[in-house]
Symmetry: D2
Subunit: 411 residues, 4 copies
Amino acid sequence: MNGQVLRERLANDFERVRAQTEALVAPLSAEDQCVQSMPDASPSKWHRAHTTWFFETFVLRPAGVEGLSPEPYAILFNSYYNAVGEQYDRPSRGLLTRPSHDEVTAYRQRVDESVLELLRAEVDDRLAGRIEVGLHHEQQHQELLLTDIKHLLSCNPLDPVYSRDASLKGDDASVPAMRWSGHEGGIARIGCGLPSFHFDNEGPVHEVLLQPFEIAQRLVTNGEYLEFIEDGGYERPELWLSVGYDTVKSRAWGAPQYWRKEHDGWSQLTLHGRRRVRDAEPVVHVSFYEADAYARWSGARLPTEQEWEVATSEPEPAPLGGRAAAVHPSSPSPYGAAWQWTRSSYSAYPGYRPAEGALGEYNGKFMCNQYVLRGSSCATPTGHARRSYRNFFPPEARWQFSGIRLARDQG
Amino acid sequence: MNGQVLRERLANDFERVRAQTEALVAPLSAEDQCVQSMPDASPSKWHRAHTTWFFETFVLRPAGVEGLSPEPYAILFNSYYNAVGEQYDRPSRGLLTRPSHDEVTAYRQRVDESVLELLRAEVDDRLAGRIEVGLHHEQQHQELLLTDIKHLLSCNPLDPVYSRDASLKGDDASVPAMRWSGHEGGIARIGCGLPSFHFDNEGPVHEVLLQPFEIAQRLVTNGEYLEFIEDGGYERPELWLSVGYDTVKSRAWGAPQYWRKEHDGWSQLTLHGRRRVRDAEPVVHVSFYEADAYARWSGARLPTEQEWEVATSEPEPAPLGGRAAAVHPSSPSPYGAAWQWTRSSYSAYPGYRPAEGALGEYNGKFMCNQYVLRGSSCATPTGHARRSYRNFFPPEARWQFSGIRLARDQG
Amino acid sequence: MNGQVLRERLANDFERVRAQTEALVAPLSAEDQCVQSMPDASPSKWHRAHTTWFFETFVLRPAGVEGLSPEPYAILFNSYYNAVGEQYDRPSRGLLTRPSHDEVTAYRQRVDESVLELLRAEVDDRLAGRIEVGLHHEQQHQELLLTDIKHLLSCNPLDPVYSRDASLKGDDASVPAMRWSGHEGGIARIGCGLPSFHFDNEGPVHEVLLQPFEIAQRLVTNGEYLEFIEDGGYERPELWLSVGYDTVKSRAWGAPQYWRKEHDGWSQLTLHGRRRVRDAEPVVHVSFYEADAYARWSGARLPTEQEWEVATSEPEPAPLGGRAAAVHPSSPSPYGAAWQWTRSSYSAYPGYRPAEGALGEYNGKFMCNQYVLRGSSCATPTGHARRSYRNFFPPEARWQFSGIRLARDQG
Amino acid sequence: MNGQVLRERLANDFERVRAQTEALVAPLSAEDQCVQSMPDASPSKWHRAHTTWFFETFVLRPAGVEGLSPEPYAILFNSYYNAVGEQYDRPSRGLLTRPSHDEVTAYRQRVDESVLELLRAEVDDRLAGRIEVGLHHEQQHQELLLTDIKHLLSCNPLDPVYSRDASLKGDDASVPAMRWSGHEGGIARIGCGLPSFHFDNEGPVHEVLLQPFEIAQRLVTNGEYLEFIEDGGYERPELWLSVGYDTVKSRAWGAPQYWRKEHDGWSQLTLHGRRRVRDAEPVVHVSFYEADAYARWSGARLPTEQEWEVATSEPEPAPLGGRAAAVHPSSPSPYGAAWQWTRSSYSAYPGYRPAEGALGEYNGKFMCNQYVLRGSSCATPTGHARRSYRNFFPPEARWQFSGIRLARDQG
């Protein structure tokens, strides 16, 4: 492709992704967008401003475009990039009632216009590459925006509804028996070697040696997880990692996040309101600890991220932007309706080198005390999922759409 | 006065006080009104809803008016009245993005109409008395609303401005030398014995025996407080209560709240923006610990609340509603521009009996580990101040407009 | 008395008090004496070294005696006297396995010999006065030593026994009905005006005006307190100060400290082991919050410290040193087997001036957020009690022998 | 070997290891042995009792020997074995002044006699195996005992000395230039496959695929680490994992634990007292974060545990018991004077199965948020080190003798 075609495609992607963020916050009031419900979560408005700051800082400023925002924005909306300066206290992001919702909208528009103007002229490969990083970065924040707003709404006794749109709702269809795919083990290639976009932590491509294993063809369902609960799973320390059981006790966990015991069964809060827990849907909002304990209870284990990657074939390509349709747990696709905890601690691949400059802070510095999740979720933007994609969260995190795919040794 | 005249006066007061609350939030966006900056503070929206809930619960419901709010409001906007039921977690008030700003406005209007309708018919003395309590209660929240929003805005590096209106601003006029009023001591009557409104903690009237004392005719100024700072006041443990000095060190205090050291002197955040500290204005936003240490440094002490009350004559009557003009520290009125810390721990007067029922929780249960402040501040609504009024806060509180009036023994 | 007689008496007192401290720790191993069970408590060894450091610092050093201890002792055993230098971190006192028990014993002996040698020559009034302060100081620590060791032993599931000596044990004798002494109120003199020893906080003598009141002739018993428990006292917020009820809930209190529910009733840990709660004994180890709630439940209130002092006549004089016999709750003496919480916040008397120099840190700087207890306890050394004595602790403190004497308005 | 020879060898090992524990505490007073300086550490006395409880619970009780300890010991000295019952609160182990030092000594003797008596008769393989586990378990606690007591003594401003014996002291000899050993990569066997003793986490033996790499022939020295400090290493976020830099800031780290800046250079606390930091000695008491940051600063990285194991040849066999001589950092042995942080998160080998029963809690349940250290240290008992040995600690731990061996990719 020649430069102009590339630039047009990038401009299209840019407009689509940026618009998708705005579409996601359309059901939310300025108040909803301003509040932070826990240190791990960020306000929607902050997500909108931060992703904009990203383009301003890493694309526009290097291209010589200045003056698009008041000086303090450089501090307020810098998440964690020490190389570009100071950052506002993370747990206090919800205190920023100013800039207002409308000011942030205007800021987005100014930056959008500038980036599109840039793309109408020549842009060098480095800037084009950074725009592409910025779009994938924004897509990551689109998913966080949904999980963060879900957490906020869950704190409100009024059980508020994010959106009445029911297209994401699963049904009550029965779920097939668990089936397993066998793998012979041996030497396998891991990581993304394609020229298309991927994050630095997906490479370099390298070989690993795997033992024979089996992996489940679908995710664990609510119905199966309920059996674990009813079998006293949360009360039996022998099923848990030591720090996991401590967490269960200190936080009084007895079910996945957003579940509530009603007089006639369990309900769960969803983005479309509170409703009955449906047995056929995949269990979500479980921590690594719960996934690990469930696996042990069921006589299986969690897969390593290498096993997961090897067992998975690349999904159909899809355009950037948009949100994936929810996937039934019995779907043949490995990309279920939920991220899948692996037993792999998040660490560097052999030969890993972070990107140069501030963007080198994107992944590498978080490789400690986090676990890799693979797949995607109902909240992942269409086209954002990749077989080699490495999501990561601390083992106690539950507010993501995180579920369970089992594995076991083949003997 | 006959009943109808009383009811009309009450209706007028009601409309004026309720409108004044709305006037105070007029400069604020829905976002500004939603966020909670610390557990001690509440969002403006919550203040607006809580004061409305107060009328709904203690006036309308006993009068048989029902259905003015969704059921959970009874929990969300109950502050601390155990006798009327459960309460939403206080430090989480800022998570309530719903009900929205507009829904709270509509709630206020529904309750306003119902109360005014009630007042157009007969109301018995008990209900009339409760409406009066509700109005004084709302005036207390008007002051808190201002101090809470000031705290929120202070957390924002953009130094946001509550209101550009500068009528509250002091000037640079010189301040007179400190002068003292002497009092002979002896037996004095304390407390409010008037038939007009006062809180239960202002009574019963009783006699106390005072030693001869002197009290300052004006409040301590910024200029005087700066001398204390420059004399190493915050570094000299011998000037402080033990727990006060621990607080200074653990919180790294070195000046009143909202002060900031600039390259050319001190600035302070005000509701009208950040500006230079003016020597002639009374020092505000100091804790009891700082007031006590300053007094010790200056060779004086804080007055007891009885000394303060005896030394003070009743101010001019003023109508309910409205905000008092700021008072110069050299004003002859004892009701300066700041509440004045006394050395009196907040406790029951001899013979004190809390009101019957839930309203008995208004004052008595807080009589522990708090100190009495007397006077009023620039944020106190006109007509809300009383000579016998007992304000109270924990000794480390600084976000109120709290200042210093000195006293000393006469010997 | 002439100087030599005075010095001989002082030397006798000195030897008796110092020996009494050693007698109190005789039942304890070096291990028992070394450990600190909570930040509020200190190890026995630390008490022994600190009281010795007090004589070294305030008596011997001013008299020119040097070299009695290694340099770091000046930091390790300084409790809170900023004027004489730095202090070792209070919650870490239990980490000081060195100096050893035997080294501290030797330190005590060196200091004892030096003080006694001083007393064989001339000592000026100032030094003599400081020796007297040091002895009363050591007696205060004798009581703390017992309450601190009781707390430590209570943490051990082996229910260790401090001493098998049962002379302190109460019996099962019946307790007389509660009787009240009436007082007319009026002007009363408060504080200690005697030339004999008293702390600076007991003066100056001053007049107060009291309302008519009645005060209970004996302390509240375990049996009476059990009725409060069984009536749901710990579950009824309307009986409690707000911060008191928060404390009850956050610490899961349901009975006095050291009580345990057994299958057939309540037991309590004593210094002589765990045994059945005896109805006739005064309730001890209750906080101010519990005392206040019990009083409200019973239709009474706590006395002010002035009421307590006026209602009390001076007990028989007793020599310094030794431990008081336990007193039955129906004892006519106002000095029951437990300190008695008053409703008075600990504050300065009118005209109070702290002592000059470092000893001025003894009392005044603690006059904040503490409540006064009057009387004495089974752990108070004989002769240490005084009618004007002002003991003080934070309202949540329970590890002292603190109980309840009721009062009520006379109307 | 026949059974009797085996039993005699086991009895010899038993006596030697048990005596070694007592030899390690010989320089310590009963006070030193009782106190706990932080939740991660345990008192020496507790180590002595816990290792004894281990034999009582897992060897003697299954063999039918009862009554060797009072009932509560089963709770007090159970560390974390849920399968055998309740446990005393870990951070409170230092409160156990009872049982006394002498009672624990007597407890050890009773158990020693019973085990030796058992070994004079027939013991089945299972019990013999458990005695062997118990000895290795006790050796692990011997090392912890030394690191825990070092931490306790470090909290004391008197700089106490554990032992004046200077045989462990390094000298000032020069250190050779850093040299690297190259490895070709490829398939390697990992884990212990020998019939001799090893923990369950060292197996099963399995193959891994390694990339070519180089590993340092000696550990990083104090002198080299000082260059990192002087180059601003602790102030440069780009060198650190994100959570590592947060830890550095929140704990104010600026050097390895036990280092102190003196007016003329750095000193460090050792078990033999405080002395000058010697450039030629290996740096110890660094966290994983510091090891990782140092490696990044030096242009290298930490090895994986597989690289470490492959690069290492088995050391000379040595008898159980005794303490290894300190090893110079330039020693050809891979078992330096310090444990060596690897970049490997502690996790299960492929096919790992925990032991049956309570001993299955020994390793597996701790496989989360910890990093593997390989090698041994100056505090490791002779004969306890193994090439396949997997030590593990949280990344912030510094109180072990943990140091740095570098690795790098070979390209």
